[in-house]
C-alpha cells in the first residue's frame, strides 16, 4: 500500500471519528442525556454549601427529582420522600469540599416506550475526617428516571446491598 493511500485512509478514519463525535454531541441519545444529567447532579451535590450560592444550588439540585421522589438508603434507615425533603436536606449541608460525591459506572436501560429508564450506578462518598485523611464509602444504586417535558428526572433511588 502506498504512503499516499495510507495517509488518505488514516485521514478518512479520523474524519469519520470526528463526524461521529460531533453528531453525538449535537444529537445525543437518551442514554447519553441521562448520563449527562447524572453528571450535573454530581456537580450540584459537590457544590452545596450553607451560603446564598449554596441555597441556589440546593434548589437546582432538588429540581433533578420528581415531586414524589423516594430515596431508600436501605440498612433499616427510613426512606426520604419528596422533592421538598431533598431541598431541606440539601440546605443543611454546611460547607463545600469536606464531602465529595461521585457517580460512576452508570448503566442505562430505556423502557420500550422511552418514557422511563432503569439506571444502575455506583456512588462513592469521600469524607475529610481530619489530619489529611479521608474515609470512603461506596454503594450501588438502582434508579428509576422518568421523562418530563424532555427532562429526565429521578423518581426512585434504592441502595443495593452488594455485601449483605
Amino acid at each position: 500500500m502506498s504512503r499516499a493511500l495510507l495517509l488518505r485512509v488514516a485521514l478518512a478514519i479520523l474524519a469519520g471519528a470526528a463526524a461521529v463525535y460531533v453528531w453525538q454531541q449535537a444529537f445525543p441519545s437518551e442514554e447519553r442525556r441521562i448520563k449527562r444529567q447524572l453528571d450535573a447532579i454530581e456537580d450540584a451535590a459537590n457544590s452545596l454549601s450553607a451560603d446564598l450560592a449554596g441555597a441556589a444550588v440546593a434548589a437546582r439540585l432538588s429540581m433533578y427529582f420528581t415531586e414524589d421522589v423516594t430515596i431508600d438508603p436501605g440498612g433499616g434507615i427510613e426512606p426520604v420522600r419528596g422533592r421538598q425533603t431533598i431541598l431541606a436536606l440539601a440546605r443543611t449541608v454546611e460547607s463545600r469540599g469536606e464531602t465529595r460525591l461521585a457517580l460512576k459506572d452508570a448503566d442505562v436501560t430505556l423502557a420500550p416506550d422511552g418514557a422511563s429508564a432503569a439506571v444502575t450506578a455506583t456512588v462513592t462518598i469521600a469524607r475529610n475526617v481530619g489530619s489529611g485523611k479521608e474515609s470512603l464509602d461506596a454503594r450501588e444504586l438502582a434508579l428509576t428516571m422518568v421523562k418530563r417535558e424532555s427532562n429526565w428526572l429521578i423518581s426512585h433511588v434504592t441502595a443495593i446491598d452488594t455485601l449483605r
Partner: protein, 163 residues
Amino acid sequence: MSRMQTFLVGANPRRTGLRIALLTLAAVLIFGWVLVPTRTEGISMQPTFESGALHFVNRFSYIGAGPRRGDIVAIALGGERVYYVKRVVGLPGERVQIVKGVVQINGAPLVEPYVARRRPWDVEEIELRSHEYFVIGDNRSMNARDHDFGRVMRTRIAGRVVF
C-alpha cells in the same frame, strides 16, 4: 539513514512500528481485561493494603475453581470501575459468626495472622448458600458499622487481587 534515525526507529522502521503496535495492543488487552490495575482507597484493608496503593486484579483467577479462604478479592459494584477489596473468610455452605472480634467457621475460630488489632465485633451466625462467600476487610480495629463486610454472590467477585 542517519545514526539518530537508526537509534530511534531501528534498522527497519516498518518492523519497529509493527512491534510497537503489537506491544501496545498486548498492553491494552492485558491491563484492560486480564490484569486490571486498581487503586485501594480507604482503610478497611489495613495493614495489608494501605490507602492509595496500586494493585492488580487478575480477572482470570477463578475461571476453573472458585475463591479460596484467605484470597483477597475484588468485588464489583455497579460496573467495572469501582470494586470492594476484601478477604474471603467463609466458603459456600459454611456457617460464619463473629464472636468478640474472632471469626468462627462452623463453630471453630479462624486463625487470621493478617489481622493486627481487633475490636470486639459480634455478628450473628449465618449460613452461606451455594455460590455465596463471606468477605471482610483486614482492619478489625474499626467500628463494625464503618466497615463493609458480609455475604457476596460468586458472580460479583471480579477476580483475585495480586501484587
